[in-house]
Each structure stands twice: as C-alpha cells, then as structure tokens.
Amino acid sequence: MAKVRGAVVVDTEACKGCSVCVVSCPKNVLQLNKQVNSRGYNYSYMANADECIGCGNCGLVCPDSVITVYRAKE
C-alpha cells in the first residue's frame, strides 16, 4: 500500500497560537513552537513532520485560516 505523506505550512506571522490545531491532529504532528512571532504568539509548527498524513483537520479547525495542507502518495 502506498504511503501517504502530508505537509502543513503555517503562516507563522498570522498564527495566534491557540493550539486548537494541536489537539485536532490525529498523529500528534503539530506543536506550539518555543519561538514567538513578531506579535508574541507561540506559533504552531510541524514538530513530527514524518507522521503527517495530510488529513486537513488542522486547516479545517484553524480560526485564523493560517494553515495550508498538502498531501502526496509516495
């Protein structure tokens, strides 16, 4: 079976670090970064990028629409 891999691109400047995407991720890919953006929020990033399946849940629940999701079969 072909492995499906996904990738999440976060607009780090617009992210407010609400962590709604973190709890919605079924594979625990996303975490809040220890770094902050220019407005002082700990933005979301792919801490565990190899596990991402590109399901799109994080993009769906993001209140600020900062997440873009990609998916490819290997």
Partner: protein
C-alpha cells in the same frame, strides 16, 4: 523518505484559505469561533460562486468587523436590527443573497423583536447566529443565553434562576414560526463539527436561493477570553456544559417539504 519540499506543490494541495477571505489578520482572540465561522461563510461564497452578489449585515459585537475579513458587500446595523436591515436589502435586491451575522447578545436580547418578525414574515434571508452564552465584546457579561449557574462578570455567583430566569432557546422558538424554512444548530469545536457546520451554512444559502423562507444557522461557540479559559479548555467546557442545553442538529428542514407540512404551513 521524500523531502518535505517535494510534497509542497500546487498539485498536492488539500486545504487552503478561502479565496473570499481577505488577507487582514483577524482581531479576534486566539481560538475564537468567529474566525472559523467567517471561513465557512467565505468557503460557501466561493463554492456557490455568489461572492459578487452577496450582501452581509454585520452586527454590534465582536463580529462587527466581519466586513474587514469577508470580501463581499456589507452593511452595518444598529444593535439587534440586522434582520430589519436585511429585510429592506433583500426586498430591494431580490436577486442578491443577503445574510445577517449576529451574536447572542444581538439576536437573542436587544434584537428579539426584529428576528421574530423577520422570521414570521418568512423573509428570504440567511441568519448566522453565534451563541457563546455571554456578551463577549464588552467583557463577558450575562446574556439571556447564559447557562444556569454559569459565572460571568455580571453574575459572579452564577446565574440564579430565581433572579435572572432561564436561558432562552431562541432557535427553538424561531423554529416554531411558519416562515422558518431551515433551522439548525451546529458547532465548530473540532474537525467533524466544522464539516457539519460547513454543510449547514451552505444549505442555508441554497435554501435562500430557493426563496422558501428564512434559514437560520445557530453556531454554539466559545468565548475563551470571556469565559476565562484556554481556547482548548473552552472547547471542552462547551462540549460538557453547552451541548446538553443546546443540542446540535437540524430542527426544521423544509427544503424538501412534506405534503402535510405544506398543508399546515403553506409556503409563499
């Protein structure tokens, strides 16, 4: 194991920001349900292709700046008067899609009269109703929809029914009116709920296109700042406490009318 940059290509795109949303950074607090609902409206406008003939009516409340975020025509109503403004707009421009975007302090409190009569007349408008149980913009005061025992900044010992009465289920009241064509209650706290809410918002606009009455989508929402919780904690609190009082699901759906419904409440 391929490089992550090999995946990030336009042909692999699964989900992106809706085209009808502007690039302005929203002023809402982190995790606010308003942003998710804005996104659902924008996606609906994209999918139905009605962005250039949609007129929104923004309320008084946090949602007042909705016109900065969704790229369609907008009006801004006095507190609670959005359904009255939408009535006039829709009657003057019946080929346009008109929707109001209201909170619970706006729709269920000061605007009760306007929404009741707009629905009773069966105006062909769509009402997006955000219910978070408090007045979020002014600092989390008690609203008519506040749950019994819920602590707010103006009811610090919890809502007491002997003094403040019961939380009003305005959507159920509106559902009884013959002019309501589609009434539903949804939520946006997780991906499943967002998908269902998206379908509901889209259906509400489609019902407006059929001109069979008012379509109302209530979104049970969080106000993490007003509730003094974290965004994810507020979502959990809402699941435990709001949903038993405000159960999710369709309440009225006349988009495919049954014969007995038509006899009881003939549509225009």
């Amino acid at each position: 194991m391929s490089n992550i940059n090999d995946i990030i290509k336009p042909e692999n795109l699964v989900y992106k920001k809706a085209d009808a949303l502007s690039d302005n950074i929203m002023h809402y607090c982190p995790g606010c349900s308003h942003g998710t609902v804005h996104k659902l409206i924008a996606e609906t406008l994209d999918e139905l292709g009605i962005q250039d003939k949609t007129i929104g009516v923004s309320p008084v409340g946090c949602g007042v700046f909705a016109y900065n975020y969704i790229n369609c025509d907008w009006q801004q109503a006095a507190h609670g008067r959005a359904p009255a403004l939408a009535t006039g707009t829709k009657r003057l421009m019946p080929d346009h899609y008109v929707f109001t975007y209201q909170g619970d302090g706006d729709l269920a409190s000061i605007g009760t009269s306007e929404i009741m009569h707009a629905v009773n007349r069966g105006e062909n408008i769509t009402v997006i109703f955000i219910n978070n149980g408090i007045y979020g913009m002014t600092g989390g005061q008690m609203a008519p929809t506040t749950l019994v025992g819920m602590e707010t900044s103006s009811s610090p010992y919890g809502r007491d029914i002997s003094i403040h009465g019961y939380p009003i289920k305005i959507t159920e009241i509106l559902a009884q009116l013959p002019g309501a064509a589609y009434v539903t209650r949804q939520s946006v706290h997780n991906a499943t709920a967002v998908r269902k809410a998206k379908k509901a918002v889209k259906k509400a606009f489609e019902v407006q296109g059929k001109a069979i009455g008012t379509s109302i989508v209530e979104i049970v929402s969080t106000c993490s700042s007003g509730w003094k919780m974290t965004p994810t904690g507020a979502n959990e609190w809402m699941t435990e406490n709001m949903f038993p009082n405000y159960p999710l699901g369709d309440i009225v759906d006349k988009s495919k009318p049954k014969q007995e419904d038509l006899e009881q409440f003939p549509l225009k």
